[in-house]
């Protein structure tokens, strides 16, 4: 291949064609006034010489780096890869590179990470904030991916509606007594989902929410959730607020000899990798991360454009749009309660004979 060559510069192209470098710049950017024929010749020469624009020079001159930062919270979040992938793809399509910064859980680290990105001169950044934290103005355009209830330039899934969908799904299967499993009351996302679930299940359903984080302070991290007892207590479904909790519930139930979904249904959120490979595969809600990423990048691009139009205000425009819909993925971890199954079976028996 022709790799390894010293990449040609505009000046070289200009010299090769006997024109000025300004003309080359104009031709390639399509900005100034260049005759069509010369423009074509320049483009061709650029191709032949293997011209690669110098991002550094361009950044120096224009003050824009064409790089955005991606700040992520506790990276242990298994949804992270998908978000990162989606953002990277959307950013690449919009001509941006993506610089990552991990905030390692700590809120101070989040600020530090943002600072590092700013120093590196990113044009803007997309932040998935640590739950319960607020991002201050850093003089750089920011877009936030969190929950629609977060103020600011936010884009996110419609977590509440997702909850509603799942709630309706469970209700339609006949579940009346449902345990909602969440982790932290601090999380906007989790609260939205819980709210949605309650709404979707309807007012005649009996549901309680188990906040795992609180349970763990007394019983230790990774403690059993005591779900078998709940089943004995009449609960027929466990709706977790994200798949990791769903998995925890599923395995605990199975270990205690409870059949899923025959004796109890289990559902989650986010459709993480394992959700489809465990046995039974988990019913969950998938986020449209590609769309979220696109919107985030687009929103960010908008703010960036505005900002260098009016180089006055850092202008963190509030363009909080509608939430991106989530799609329900029904698998085998949810089903009718055993009683309805039995009833239906009896019904079928009667019918068939």
């Amino acid at each position: 291949m022709s790799v390894g060559r010293t990449p040609a510069t505009m000046t070289e192209i200009a010299a090769a064609l006997g024109v000025s470098s300004a003309t080359v710049s104009n031709a390639l950017s399509g900005k100034g006034r260049v005759s069509a024929e010369l423009s074509a010749k320049i483009r061709q020469a650029a191709d032949e010489l293997g011209y690669v624009p110098s991002h550094a020079a361009r950044a120096l001159r224009t003050g824009r780096t064409a790089v955005i930062g991606l700040v992520l919270p506790d990276i242990s979040n298994p949804l992270f890869p998908q978000i990162a992938q989606a953002i990277e793809q959307a950013a690449a399509a919009a001509g941006y590179g993506v610089l990552i910064a991990d905030s390692r859980g700590e809120i101070a680290q989040q600020t530090a990470a943002i600072g590092r990105l700013v120093e590196r001169g990113v044009d803007g950044m997309i932040v998935v904030p640590r739950r319960g934290s607020r991002i201050g103005d850093v003089g750089t355009p920011i877009a936030i991916i969190d929950s629609p209830s977060t103020p600011g330039n936010t884009v996110s899934s419609d977590h509440r509606d997702g909850g509603v969908q799942m709630g309706r799904h469970l209700a339609s299967l006949g579940h009346q007594k449902v345990l909602l499993i969440a982790n932290s009351r601090q999380s906007n996302v989790q609260n939205d989902r819980v709210g949605g679930l309650e709404a979707g299940l309807g007012s005649d359903a009996c549901c309680e929410t188990l906040w795992v984080e609180e349970m763990e302070v007394s019983q230790g991290v990774g403690c059993a959730l005591g779900l078998a007892a709940r089943v004995a207590d009449g609960y027929t479904a466990f709706a977790a607020v994200y798949d990791l909790l769903a998995l925890r519930a599923l395995t605990e139930l199975q270990r205690d000899g409870i059949d899923v979904p025959l004796q109890a249904s289990v559902s989650g959120f986010d459709d993480l990798v394992w959700s489809s490979v465990v046995m039974p595969p988990i019913t969950t809600l998938r986020q449209n991360l590609a769309m979220i990423a696109e919107r985030a990048v687009e929103a960010l691009g908008g703010v960036i454009a505005e900002r260098d139009a009016a180089t006055r205000k850092p202008a963190s425009v509030e363009r909080n749009g509608a939430g991106v819909p989530m799609t329900l993925v029904i698998r085998q971890s949810t089903g009718p309660t055993m009683y309805s199954v039995v009833a239906a079976a009896a019904h079928a028996r009667k019918d068939s004979r």
Copy 2:
């Protein structure tokens, strides 16, 4: 805060102190000859004025961007977040920013992603290659994270030794008939782990390897692995080559009413998020990703330094070091076989009376 200010430049510092900008540069970089007192004054002024070096200008002048690229394979790999985090941390410590590039599984995408990074002028890149792919010379320093059996400038865990550790652990629990569960024969990492497991279990153990990928071509993706039948067949342990497979095995066994670890043990690799929260928590091997990342960044830094010392060869130095050790994390998914438990219980009963 003092954010939002126009960041001061070297020229401004120089003007404020009535010295030349070259002196400021020398003082701050500690390179040229500057008197100690002037140097101190300059440093102080830099602080007060809130000097932030322009990466763009520096990059333009020196040709080095202080950014490295991180190329990842199928991003769905749940280990990815941890790798990314570790790399980011190590890179930040070494003064590098990390630009991500996702190769979305496709091998062509991998090449494209690498190309994009090169165009952006990264100083080097760290590649976690798609399994079975080889990276060509792109005229940019590269470090690879894969398996010690990969040629090139590679750093990785000692997967084989990890397998040996797990094999010994299982053997010590009395397991003689073990099913190894892997996905693809193409993967160096998986092959290393399988080899290690076989070695660790010893020659008198009976073990077979189940290649899930091959099974799925005939039975469909996500098919049952038929482990219950294996248990009936005398298998007492299932050693998966990564945690996702272990999870799949665990849930399948539990669904079929087999008690883990009483009737069968299950083990994995990588200690992914869920491994500790499922019930029972999974025995696994943890990679020392922090160390791997450090070494990768360090190795890359070395190659970069060499390259701009001798601006001749692209010099992808072969500095294939020893594998980084993995650590065995014993949890509740592995235990003695039921028979030995029964035997031990009988033994105990006899002893106590």
